[in-house]
Every structure is written in structure tokens, then in C-alpha cells.
């Protein structure tokens, strides 16, 4: 329909009085299909979610979702959320996973990238091996680590061999150890991504600037802190933002390994939302949780983008 109106817009010679206005209108028409698409895949679900979050609506409540106003509960979902200890515990667990995993992945990735910026024998083979964890389907990785951390599993076997005593730690049944196992699995799987992004940033640092710094007497550490890191700032922020956002949504590997347990020891936001959605079936509440998470992540994303723009400005 929008396409059909195009020729009539183009046919008359551009009117002399308001050409910018005319081209703005043409631009609007040309982008209309895309805008409608965005409206349906982003804005509409968001509004729907907001609408449902203000009610007690559930799939089994007997009314269609657009009639959720019948189950209007004002802001009860949000006040419940504020008082929901399980929600706060899940948020805490998510944050804890993040502050351990993301810096660990970053430092490991940066160290590996620095190593791989130079040539050494077998580099290509190690490179492929190093990227492999990232290619593994998260559910498979979850199952792998589930098996590894069984009390009769390889991890305990190795520990037994090393200590010379029979080790039979029930990794996934102990709150602390289960948490550690989950963190290890995440670091294993996502360090390669960090490595890959940081390596791309590292090889992009102009070689002659590093040489110039060397000629001016900077030692290796000074070169790293005064040239390499500032030049990589944009890409470091991108890598961290990607991992923070992804890590916040950590679910599949963890769910298969522990199911959020023992108890709620490894229950992250996503696991909690999943449980409320599929077991408790109170979707109005789920919508409220999801919106709260969205707000948190948006703040992170906006912050990251601002820093990114600033870093790009500085590094250009």
C-alpha cells in the first residue's frame, strides 16, 4: 500500500517552497514498513507486557489477555515484587555470578588475546581449540558439566589422583560448590568470546604507535597501559557490555546443571522467571518481573553506549 503511493510522490518536480519537508515525508513513507515491523516485534509486546503486569492475568484465568483489565490489581504485582525475597535472592545470585564471571572472563580473554597477538608454533591449532567452547550448544555444555561434577565424575577422579585419596565431593548438592561449578562452566564457555573480541581489538592497535612508544623509551607494561589499553577502550566496553547483558540472562547451562538448586542457591533471575512462568503460571507477575529486569538492563545498556561513544570520541 505504501509502495503504491510512491510514484505519485516522485512524479511531480520537487516543489520549490519546501523541499526538505517533501524529502522527509518520502523518507517516512520509505521506512514505514520497517517501522511497522519494529512496532509489532518490540513496542507491541512491551505494551502488552506492561498491560498484563498490572493485572492478575494467567493463561488459566478464563479471560482473554486483552480483557485482563477485569483482573486489574492496580500495582499489586510491583509491590509484591518489592517484598518478594526469592526475587531479591535471585537478583543477588545473578549479580554475584556476573561480578565473578565477567571480570574473570575479561582478564582471561585479555591475557589469551595478548598471547595470541604474537606468533608462536601451533597458534592456529590452539586458536581453534580455544574457540570450541563457544561453539558448543549451551544445553550440551550444561550436560557436560553436569556429568563432570557428579560425585563419581571426572572432576573428583582427577582430584583423587592428585591428592592420592578418594575424593567424592557432591559438587552440585552443596550450595557453595554448586555455585562454583556454575561459575566455572560459564567462564569455560564464554572466555572464548571475550578472547575473540579482545583479540580483534588488540590486532587493531597500530603497530607503529607501539614502536614509536618503544623508541621513546616506554617499557612493555607502559606500552600496554598508555597505548594498547586506551586504544582498545571502545572494544573493551563492547565486550563487557555484551557479557554483562548475556550473563544477566544466564539460564540454559545453569538450569541443566543445578536447576537453580540446591534450594535456591543458584537460582538466577532467568531461572526464577522460568519457574514462575511454567510452574506457578501467574503471568501478570512474570510480566512485572520481566519489565523490572528490562529497566535494569536498559540502564546498563544506555550507560555502556554512552561510555562507548565517549571512548570512540577519545580514541578516534
Amino acid at each position: 500500500m505504501t509502495m503504491a503511493t510512491l510514484p505519485s510522490t516522485l512524479a511531480p518536480a520537487v516543489p520549490a517552497d519546501k523541499p526538505e519537508n517533501e524529502s522527509a515525508r518520502l523518507g517516512f513513507r520509505l521506512t514505514l514498513p520497517a517501522q511497522i515491523l519494529v512496532l509489532f516485534i518490540a513496542v507491541f509486546p512491551l505494551l502488552m507486557q506492561l498491560y498484563i503486569s498490572l493485572s492478575d492475568w494467567a493463561p488459566l484465568s478464563g479471560v482473554e489477555w486483552w480483557n485482563a483489565w477485569e483482573l486489574w490489581n492496580s500495582f499489586a504485582n510491583y509491590s509484591d515484587l518489592a517484598a518478594d525475597t526469592r526475587f531479591w535472592s535471585a537478583l543477588w545470585c545473578t549479580a554475584l555470578v556476573m561480578v565473578i564471571c565477567v571480570p574473570a572472563e575479561f582478564l582471561l580473554g585479555l591475557a589469551l588475546a595478548t598471547l595470541f597477538a604474537d606468533d608462536f608454533p601451533g597458534k592456529r591449532v590452539f586458536y581453534s581449540i580455544l574457540l570450541m567452547p563457544m561453539m558448543v550448544v549451551p544445553a550440551v555444555a550444561g550436560y557436560m558439566f553436569f556429568m563432570l561434577f557428579q560425585s563419581g565424575g571426572p572432576v573428583n577422579d582427577i582430584l583423587s589422583a592428585l591428592t592420592g585419596r578418594t575424593v567424592a565431593i557432591a559438587w552440585l548438592s552443596d550450595p557453595t560448590l554448586a555455585f562454583i561449578a556454575v561459575v566455572i562452566a560459564d567462564i569455560w564457555q564464554w572466555t572464548p568470546l571475550m578472547f575473540l573480541i579482545l583479540l580483534a581489538g588488540l590486532v587493531g592497535v597500530p603497530d607503529d604507535q607501539i614502536k614509536a612508544a618503544t623508541l621513546l623509551g616506554a617499557n612493555a607494561w607502559q606500552r600496554f597501559t598508555t597505548i594498547v589499553l586506551p586504544k582498545m577502550k571502545t572494544i573493551i566496553i563492547i565486550a563487557l557490555a555484551i557479557r554483562v547483558i548475556e550473563n544477566f540472562k544466564i539460564f540454559d547451562t545453569l538450569f541443566i546443571m543445578t536447576g537453580g538448586g540446591p534450594g535456591v542457591a543458584t537460582e538466577t533471575i532467568s531461572v526464577y522467571v522460568y519457574k514462575v512462568t511454567t510452574q506457578d503460571l501467574i503471568w501478570g507477575y512474570v510480566a512485572a518481573i520481566a519489565l523490572a529486569i528490562l529497566v535494569v538492563l536498559s540502564v546498563v545498556a544506555v550507560f555502556a553506549m554512552k561510555r562507548m561513544a565517549k571512548a570512540r570520541e577519545l580514541a578516534a
Binding site: D208, L216, G217, A218
Partner: protein, 364 residues
């Protein structure tokens, strides 16, 4: 300040020899240009002086200090990169003070020296500017200042003008020469542009295929090329070279140029050396050093192409290996197809041995 001595310098990259037995002595405070086409080994030589690459054989001495094993940060060498390698994430001040900061100089000294260098290079009003949005001539001055502030004994410049457009290059040449007088350091300047080498350098080292061809003052290299390569390479256009053999004539020893007839008599110095031999030689003369014959005697050749470049006219004559170019100061009025009779300036004629490629030098 420091002299540079390169002794039997060789550089190999795997099976490829980038530089073979280079011997070059650069005096203290001298401006030496390393001139040659791409891949001639000039940048390799420079990188070895700076310590970015280790020589495969031979020695590099600064004064009487052997530089083997001295890392590049400790050589006291200032290096200006082809694209300047300015730290774009810093300000001009950050760039200028970088070396001093890395060595932990006290703040007061850094400020004093940055101030002095900035003043000298007219960078003072730009000190707070980010280095990512500066014009090329400012970048060049920052690059020079950043090295100069460390007061290096030796300054190395790697084709610093190759990224600049032609009009600007002329300005920068003057500026660079002026700066060298200011700093009085030993300067080594790598370039493939003979105009830069000619106008700025005290001496030029012409290189080709990893071999040093000739070292000398610019005019000396221009007037007395040591071999065929230098003769062709220096000058724009290069020297005319016509194959032939020495022969006796009424007026003295001449070169028999085959279908082109015989050359005018050779200068006595060259004739004395050449007399008696019958080997193939090249008869060389500069396109700028010819006149049109007034009496009809000389090299008669048909005009094949006329290039008018404003003040001068380049006339191409003949074809194949028996072709020459002649440069006239005015519009010579030459027409394609017309036959011109050229007389090379007798004193500036040079003869090269075709076998060895070396110039036949007058004895004594």
C-alpha cells in the same frame, strides 16, 4: 650528537637478502638521504639503525659505541614514521611529553621542555588539542617534536613526506631543512623521491636491490653517476643512454652509435681511458644538457612525442633502446615526425661500460 658507522651490514629475511654488505659512514651533524626505489633496502637499513631489526651480519656504531644488542628504547634515536605514528588518543602535549613521562622525569622539567619544544615548533597554541584532528603539517611537527624533546643524537626520518600532496611537500621540505639546522642532529632521511634528497641532504646514498650504488653530494651524484642505475635513477627524466662502441675519428675519439651515426668527440679525459678498447659502452648525457645543432652536425633523430609541462618541454626522440629525451627551457617548437639534430654538451657527456655498468672515469 653522534656519527653513524655501518660496517659490512647484511640483512637477510629467510632466503631473501634485503641488504648486502653495506658500508656507510655518516658524519656527526650530517643530513644523509638514503635514496632508492621501493625494496632497495633503505628502510631495512634505517630500521637496523633504530634497532627495530637486528643485522644478520656486520656492525652498527654510533661514534665508537657498538650498538649490537642495545634495545631500541636505549639507542637515543629519534624516529619519525612515514605516517608519523602520532598517539591519536592523546593531546599534542601528551604526545610531546610521552618520552619524558615514561622515563619518570619530574613534572617541572617536563613542563619546561614541552614548553621549549612547542615554542620552537610553533605548537604552543595547539598543546591542548587532541591529536586525532590535526592537519598533516602539524602532525609532522608533533612527530618531530616528540622525538626532539628526548634530545636524541640521531634523527631518523622514514619517508615523512610521502603522504603529503605535492604543493605541500615543497613547504615541508623547507621546513624540515630549517628544523635540522635548528636541532643540529645527525639526520638520516629515507626517501624514494630524489627531489627531496637533492634539496635537503648534505649527501645522498643511492641504493638498489640491497646494494649501495653511490654516496656523494647531491650535485656530484647528479653530475657524475657511478653506474648505469644511478644515471637512470637520478634526474627527471633520467640520463639518456645510447649503446655504442668507441671509434676513432678526425676530431678525436667518438662513440659509434650504430644507426644513429657517431657521437661528437668525447672529452679528452674519458677518451684517454677509453682509447684502444672496443667493448660495448653506453653513451650518456643529461636531457637538460643538449642543444639543437646550428651546423647540422650531431645526433639526428625523429621526434616521437612532445611533452609540454609549462616552463619546460620534454621532447622524446627515436624509439626502443635508441631513444632519448631532450628538455628545452621554452616551447621548443618541436613537431612529431620532424627530425631534430641534437648536440650534447661536451663537458657533461658520460660513458658507461656496458658489461660492468660502471662509469668510465677520467683518470687523475
Amino acid at each position: 650528537m653522534s656519527a653513524i658507522h655501518l660496517q659490512n651490514l647484511v640483512k637477510r629475511f629467510g632466503p631473501f637478502t634485503a641488504l648486502r654488505t653495506m658500508d656507510l659512514h655518516i658524519a656527526d651533524g650530517e643530513f644523509m638521504a638514503l635514496l632508492g626505489p621501493s625494496g632497495c633496502g633503505k628502510s631495512t637499513t634505517m630500521n637496523m639503525i633504530a634497532g627495530m631489526e637486528e643485522p644478520s651480519e656486520g656492525q652498527i656504531l654510533f661514534g665508537d659505541r657498538d650498538m649490537a644488542g642495545v634495545p631500541m628504547g636505549r639507542r637515543g634515536v629519534g624516529f619519525v614514521f612515514q605516517n608519523y605514528a602520532i598517539f591519536t588518543h592523546m593531546t599534542v602535549r601528551g604526545n610531546l611529553s610521552y618520552g619524558l613521562r615514561m622515563r619518570g622525569a619530574p613534572k617541572s622539567e617536563i613542563d619546561r621542555r614541552v614548553g621549549a619544544v612547542a615554542e620552537l615548533l610553533q605548537l604552543t597554541p595547539l598543546l591542548h588539542r587532541k591529536a586525532n584532528r590535526l592537519s598533516v603539517n602539524i602532525l609532522q611537527r608533533v612527530a618531530i617534536g616528540r622525538s626532539a624533546i628526548m634530545e636524541p643524537a640521531i634523527f631518523l626520518l622514514d619517508e615523512p613526506l610521502s603522504n603529503v600532496d605535492a604543493a605541500f611537500r615543497a613547504v615541508m621540505r623547507t621546513e624540515l631543512k630549517h628544523l635540522q639546522r635548528e636541532f643540529k642532529q645527525t639526520m638520516v632521511y629515507v626517501t624514494h623521491d630524489q627531489l627531496e634528497a637533492m634539496t635537503m641532504a648534505d649527501r645522498i646514498a643511492v641504493m638498489d636491490h640491497g646494494v649501495l650504488q653511490q654516496v656523494g653530494a647531491p650535485l656530484d651524484v647528479y653530475n657524475n653517476p657511478a653506474n648505469l642505475f644511478v644515471a637512470r635513477f637520478i634526474g627527471a627524466p633520467g640520463m639518456n643512454l645510447l649503446p655504442g662502441r668507441p671509434a676513432e675519428s678526425d676530431g678525436g675519439l667518438v662513440i659509434d652509435l650504430g644507426p644513429l651515426g657517431i657521437s661528437p668527440p668525447l672529452p679528452e679525459g674519458i677518451a684517454a681511458v677509453l682509447r684502444g678498447s672496443n667493448g660495448e659502452v653506453f653513451y650518456g648525457f643529461r636531457p637538460e644538457q643538449v642543444t639543437r645543432s646550428v651546423d647540422g652536425r650531431g645526433l639526428a633523430m625523429p621526434v616521437s612525442f612532445v611533452e609540454r609541462i609549462g616552463a619546460r618541454t620534454i621532447v622524446h626522440l627515436g624509439e626502443g633502446e635508441r631513444s632519448v629525451k631532450a628538455v628545452f627551457e621554452n616551447d621548443a617548437g618541436a613537431v612529431v615526425g620532424e627530425t631534430l639534430v641534437l648536440v650534447p654538451d661536451a663537458a657533461s657527456v658520460r660513458v658507461f661500460d656496458a658489461g660492468s655498468g660502471r662509469a668510465v672515469m677520467a683518470e687523475g
